[in-house]
Amino acid sequence: MIAAALVIVDDGMGNLFNLQRAFERLDIEAKVATDPGQVERAGAIVLPGVGAFDTAIHTLRDCGLVPVIRRAAVSGIPVLGICLGMQLLATESNEGGNFPGLDLIPGAVRRLRSPDEQTSNFKVPQMGWNEIYSDVDASRGDTILDEIPDETKFYFLHSYVVDLENRSDLLARCRYGRDEFPAVVQRENVFGCQFHPERSGAMGLKLLRNFAALIKRKDIR
């Protein structure tokens, strides 16, 4: 077991069982927590997310988790946002109104562009396996995409995407219909993936293992 506790933030909505089970398969201890004290002591934070942006950010705020997650991220603790969790890392969202996010990755959340006449077979939500196009060298050795071949398919389940302010935060893109959007992002120690690595077969587990490896490195330091 990797000693540093990896904490999965419980948003009260999601499929945390599968995320926890995925880390278990990798022999990585992952605790589920809503208590700010526990999240504060985490060696790494995973922010899952199912549901609507405003409900999720309100839940985090009501539990007193917004400042805790922000402080942890600024202090260098690795943070991984998954699906809605990645969107929560952005500056703001226009899903069902206008709501501020955690503002750890500058960007705005918007709805997937609806299909036009030529691409009428593209439905929203996007539900299914789609390729990601990497913008980094997979052999670089310090990203969560290490040893994941370009154009690997992951499982997407979403209606909203993040528009990044800085292209330098982009690790990989996904294309759907006439839309192109970030699939994997990184800003220093803060990561996000729009797909669900915990339900994306072996390559999804690989990505989670890469994230866990970053914790380990941090512990040695």
Binding site: N18, K123, G128, H196, R199, A202, L205
Partner: protein
């Protein structure tokens, strides 16, 4: 560029057992769902659709322990259907390992339930399952309680309405083709899929890889779900190539038998033969890929050996 067409394995469950019937009736026990699910996961299944065949009928809660066991053995998304009646039910099945839920009976009884559920969990988490039955004058009617009751509701009107209520996916099961291997109801699928702004899953009737191709190309299905064609392959006795029942020992799972075990061999309701050609998930996907359709061929998938 495009999302792959999902090949979904449908796991119909009664109690702790995986079952398969004909036209939503006459269940035959095949073994344990988690054992089958694990084989399909290794073979590249894109998703699972778990269907509790009796939860709605008996007003029972979903079986969280069975869901948990399946989720633990699989690495791809799991949709849970059958007996989802409340926000609390959705919450609990998500906790047990579901990634999405599919709702039929409760939605037809209380359509606003879909609105509340999708508002809370997001449309991507709420699928609507339609048990479409074609009656003798050609009309399609929604059935409920796993094909036990008629609702009087027109399938196409309902399919349009559920999207407005927040459903993020529509699973269309053609009750009249279920288990027979006669092919999907392509026209039914096409009418719903071309009108729907959300993904549509075609289900019931798969008997060969060609049937998958038909319902994707002609039926415009975004995903395809099948059961018997995969189960009869995975359940084949290890010492022979055909499927027959001759004792309580099944290949997958402990002796776990109950219910009707005769109809597959002896005919059922006037149906003397099934057209199902048992095929593995991987072989269906390789067939589709060879015909230029976008499918995910898992690099780490292992071929299922029918006779190891």
């Amino acid at each position: 560029m495009t999302s792959s067409v999902r090949i979904i394995v449908r796991l119909e469950v009664k109690g702790p057992n995986l079952v398969k019937g004909l036209c939503f009736d006459g269940f035959r026990v095949l073994g344990h769902p988690e054992t089958f699910a694990s084989i399909y996961d290794d073979d590249g299944a894109d998703e699972f659709l778990y269907v509790d065949t009796v939860a709605s009928l008996y007003q029972r809660s979903p079986q969280f322990d069975v869901i948990r066991r399946i989720a633990a053995k699989t690495t791809v998304p799991l949709t849970v259907a059958g007996g989802i009646r409340s926000i609390e039910d959705i919450h609990s099945v998500l906790r047990a390992g579901a990634d999405k839920v599919a709702i039929n009976t409760a939605a037809l009884a209380t359509p606003d339930f879909l609105k509340v559920a999708s508002g809370r969990f997001g449309s991507q988490c709420i699928a609507v399952s339609i048990e479409a039955h074609q009656n003798s004058n050609g009309q399609y009617e929604c059935w409920t309680n796993f094909g036990r009751q008629k609702s009087g509701v027109d399938v196409f009107e309902w399919a349009e309405r559920v999207v407005n209520l927040g459903a993020g996916e529509i699973i269309v099961s053609a009750v009249h083709n279920d288990g027979l291997g006669v092919g999907f109801d392509v026209e039914l699928t096409r009418r719903i899929a071309t009108a729907s702004p959300v993904p549509v899953v075609a289900s019931c009737g798969a008997g060969s890889p060609e049937h998958f191709r038909d319902v994707i190309v002609k039926g415009k299905a975004d995903a395809v779900a099948a059961a018997a064609i995969f189960h009869y392959q995975a359940a084949k006795p290890v010492d022979r190539m055909w499927m027959s029942y001759d004792g309580a020992q099944l290949r997958n799972g402990d002796p776990a038998d109950s219910g009707n075990i005769e109809f597959l061999n002896c005919g059922y309701g006037g149906i003397r033969e099934l057209d199902v050609k048992p095929t593995s998930v991987g072989d269906v996907k390789r067939y589709l890929a060879a015909h230029g359709l976008p499918v995910r061929i898992s690099a780490d998938a292992v071929r299922i050996q029918a006779c190891p």
